[in-house]
Symmetry: C2
Subunit: 227 residues, 2 copies
Amino acid sequence: MTKILQRNLYREVADRIGDLIEHGELLPGERISEKQLCDLFGVSRTPLREALKVLATEGLIELLPNRGARVVRLTLKNVKDTYDLMAALEGLSGELACQYISDAEIAAIRQLHNTMLEHYRNRDLIPYFQVNRQIHESILAASNNDVLQEMYSNLSQRVKRVRYSKQMTERYWSQAVKDHENMIAALEQRDSQLLGQILRDHLCNKIEVATLAGVIDTEDDKSVVNN
Amino acid sequence: MTKILQRNLYREVADRIGDLIEHGELLPGERISEKQLCDLFGVSRTPLREALKVLATEGLIELLPNRGARVVRLTLKNVKDTYDLMAALEGLSGELACQYISDAEIAAIRQLHNTMLEHYRNRDLIPYFQVNRQIHESILAASNNDVLQEMYSNLSQRVKRVRYSKQMTERYWSQAVKDHENMIAALEQRDSQLLGQILRDHLCNKIEVATLAGVIDTEDDKSVVNN
DNA sequence: AAAAGTAATTATGAATTCAATATTCCTTTG
DNA sequence: CAAAGGAATATTGAATTCATAATTACTTTT
């Protein structure tokens, strides 16, 4: 049952601009030139401007009346706020998943979990994070709550460009793995309260925020950087 | 420090259309005619279409390629999903509020609480709900999390048009008031875990969903259970 | 030479125009 | 008479054009 995805031009353009932001080709605080992007994508200003409005609603850019658009400059607080929110949503996803998830789906997650452990033992950071994400996504999918998934996806988009998986200390990492052990156990017992609690408290997000503390500029943004 | 709110035409139009939907002047599933709205608002199609795209992103309408837009038809499941999410967000707002709220703000909420109790004793349903909402909004504001407030606001918008305060049974009502007693107590003790828990479990939302069960068309959006 | 003021340029906001897709209404055919 | 086919109409998608606000470049003045 594959979802019909409508390919409007504006949506296409919005996604492409989102990619540019995610991959750092459009920098935080950078002014977005309509003409430049029109030339780049080969579209007129109408769909491009529609895309900008949508991206502003999604929180990726901000619109300054009569002065165009710019990429949102993420502050540490903003990222922290977002992660707090994502943790709460993950908690809910866990609670709901316990109600709706099938044995087969649990088994699949257990499988992923084992794979993740293997990566942990080998200290393969990238594959570890990849499988880690798959586990969380599986639980989210099992929540059977479309609105939740939509919201989570949007929040995830916003902070994608500053997501780091580096600098994971051994101590935090082992704790994260322990969290996952408990998660799987709670899931297999369908203990919704417990799984919710674990996911809300799961260290993962907090680690990332801590890591980011050194990366993102702490001060407010009104700075006109970027020539 | 008062926030600068930009008044773009498209944003103005989007809000106006949102009002039409909220007040039932545009009905669920109803086709939205661009021309009709252009005439109504006295604007050209450009800003109107931008507004439609934004409203689609906000989840109020849906866009059918080459076939215009229509007001989202809320299913019971959709509303339930949304309320579950809102409860989780309220829980988070409570947790955070305990960390950031000032004594003065707590006192103000206590004041609102007393007013609400008065309305409860008099069985003044409308004023009761008004103050009730103010309390929840105060906690949300005290959470000091802008992203959270933005998300909550969006979700609230989506279900506004089906919010009912009627048909509150005496039993549920008294329970809701008890919940509020506990909330205030937790807040005054700054017990974030407890307040979070109370708000997540707060009956209010569930009551509304129960009430709505008779109002909204139950027909599931083919989202049958998992396999 | 620095600051202030003004004209020229550029970019944005919004309306209009052109092109495509969908819908309606009428005719034709079995 | 019902169904199918096809113009005529209306609606949407996207480009272009026009108007207005912001930025830059250039004088002028002190």
